[in-house]
Symmetry: none
Subunit: 402 residues, 2 copies
């Protein structure tokens, strides 16, 4: 049975209790073949283990068993939003990822610089993966065009990737991609996919035509491909669904952007792990829900650096001591997905979770690790159920039915 946010909204009530959701990005791992232990099992984590012993543990599936989640679905699930039905367009996601100040009427697209031959056929969808520096220079050539009273912002992302944001009156994102997703063919002409988007399609095609002219001498980046046209989605906000006053602490723009989409206030923070915990402490009395995001574990996993991931987990464990001293009513520690150093990327493996509260009904797990969490009292469950559990443990949910 899938709990709807509507149902939660009906039974949620404000209360003075406080919840901290600590997300250690890419937390789950795979065993080092030499030791048989994962990154988390290798790390020395006295504080996490103490919390696990006092709390209740389990394993979460961010989307569904076998599915490897991107960062957006992984986080939406942690916030209690079904990541299959709550969708974020690719253009919007890229814009969020570089902290672009997207406005409600904007239409954003993900762009690639690409290579076309003399007859206009795509020969490299990534223009030889030009440097980010080069990408920035090319974006400046295209940035700021105005077509039919619509201003077009063009901003670099990384290597050949950029975003194009269309700002004007009456724009809608329901148009096709120009990216043909294959070589040897011409970029597609963009077409309207609904009655209201003829104008938008026309502007996008004009923009691409102008870009082609401007980039003509910029081989290998002599053309662009656009896809994933989208607008900021209108998600129900956490303040209304959960009756919470939620705040987010994250050093990477993507996670701040995702938190903003569900209505969290974004706290200014410096960027080390210790900084983030200090930011939480400084703001502790002003909010009743904190999402604290640690990025470095995921980056270490993506780099295949097992030992660095171990050290970062130990660093988080150390920083946790002070948070525990502040005695939040509910502490949840988990990840948005696994990023095993052995796989060098996100993976489908379920993620350890621990929940501590005065009311949690502790199990016998006394170590926070993948293998110990298998036997935890929370069992294996979908990540979307974390928020109702945390809310219940904070005594913020009333009875369902009479």
């Amino acid at each position: 049975m899938d709990l709807s946010l509507e149902l939660i909204k009906e039974i949620a009530r404000p209360s003075p209790t406080r919840i901290v959701l600590l997300v250690i990005d890419g937390l789950g791992g795979l065993p080092n073949p030499e030791t048989g232990k994962t990154e988390l099992e290798t790390a020395n984590t006295p504080n996490l283990d103490k919390l696990a012993a006092k709390g209740i543990c389990g394993l979460i599936d961010p989307v569904s068993p076998g599915i490897t989640p991107g960062s957006a679905p992984g986080h939406l699930a942690l916030f209690g939003y079904n990541p299959i039905s709550f969708n974020i367009g690719r253009g919007v996601l890229e814009a969020i990822g570089i902290d672009f100040d997207l406005q409600p009427g904007d239409v954003a697209a993900r762009g690639n610089f690409c290579t076309v031959d003399a007859t206009g056929l795509v020969t490299d969808r990534r223009a030889g993966r030009i440097s980010t520096q080069k990408c920035s220079e090319l974006c400046q050539l295209l940035d700021g065009l105005v077509i039919e009273n619509t201003k077009i912002f063009v901003c670099p992302v990384r290597e050949h990737r950029f975003i194009a944001v269309f700002r004007g009156q009456g724009l809608a994102p329901d148009i096709s991609d120009s990216d043909p997703q294959q070589l040897g063919v011409a970029p597609k002409s963009i077409t309207a996919l609904s009655l209201e988007t003829d104008k938008m399609a026309g502007i996008a095609n004009q923009f691409i035509a102008q870009a082609k002219t401007t980039l003509a001498k910029c081989y290998p980046a002599n053309m662009i491909l656009l896809r994933g046209f989208s607008k900021l989605p209108q998600f129900p906000i956490m303040g209304e669904v959960y009756k919470l006053k939620p705040a987010a602490i994250a050093s990477y723009p993507m996670y701040r952007g995702l938190a903003k989409l569900v209505g969290m206030e974004i706290l200014e923070t410096r960027t080390t792990i210790e900084d983030e915990f200090a930011t939480l402490k400084r703001n502790y009395t002003n909010y009743d829900f904190f999402f604290l995001h640690i990025k470095e574990t995921d980056s270490a996993g993506e780099d295949g650096d097992f030992d660095r991931k171990v050290r970062i987990i130990e660093q988080v464990d150390k920083a946790l001591a002070e948070l525990i001293n502040m005695e939040p009513d509910v502490i949840v520690v988990t990840g948005d997905h696994s990023t095993p150093a052995l796989i060098r990327g996100h993976s489908w493996h379920p993620v350890p979770i621990l929940l501590y509260s005065k009311w949690c009904r502790p199990d016998k797990v006394s170590q926070f690790s993948e293998s110990a969490c298998i036997l935890g009292g929370l069992g294996r469950f979908p990540a979307t159920q974390i928020m109702p559990l945390a809310m219940a443990n904070a005594l913020k949910l009333t009875k369902f039915g009479a």
Copy 2:
């Protein structure tokens, strides 16, 4: 969250890795009261135990806890098709079960020979369970009739059961049953349940009338009852959903038929357990997915023969050695449901599952058994999630969302 096949289709990609799904029909059991051990726990299974130790284990619910599955829902779930929404009509299922070569336009019905009294009221819905031999003889009397250019095939199944298959132009299965499902009333007249099925209802009624005349002197089998009119369903095929090249090895027609419905290629095989494994070996390089079905465990369970079921499990274990040597990327061993010898039939008990791959994140289970699997890292989960898990472990699924 119910993952749709549509979603899987979007993220599946072909790859050179290979998956073997070994289905030991009716695998799960109940403990022998004298020993406290189930069939699987009693069997000596060094190969399964070795795989369990290297792999990850759990328990599956084919349909849902408490629900005893038939063979069709049990297998559809294993193939990743939600057995509640993917339905196979009773007539089609019986036709598949006897290897009848059903064509896309055919309408198939499940039939009973029954007894009616002088006034036409049903006195025995099974005609005293006539022998299969007798059933064959009676079917020959009815087989091959042509009514309104529609040819009617009548084939014996077992005892009083047969199938009637209607082959002609413009037939549709949406008509009511003639079987009243009770005694002391007349067989029902068949009626059209949609605008297009008047013709079909008329033909079915004429067929029944002719059968009544033909069988008048064949007491106790002096009438027929028809139900479950249905056509071959159009399921999405595994090649498209999973981008696999799938093959099925099964010695019983029902399982070949089910595999065919989801687009597997059916491999010619001799019928012993050893034969089936040899067929897999012979075809190993030609496919990237194998469904290998072992029927005998279920038959032993249905017969209430605990010891025979133990011996068959041991025989499978022995045959498994060579498969392990072939080093498929992913091996899944499970059943389509439990068939405890103590119950002498299918049951609702969850079924042990083991999954082995290089990327499986092993748990501490070192014996393949019901009680050990309770503590497995896969936990307890719906059988429809097996395919996504197997695909993920074969690195055949890309990331969901960015």
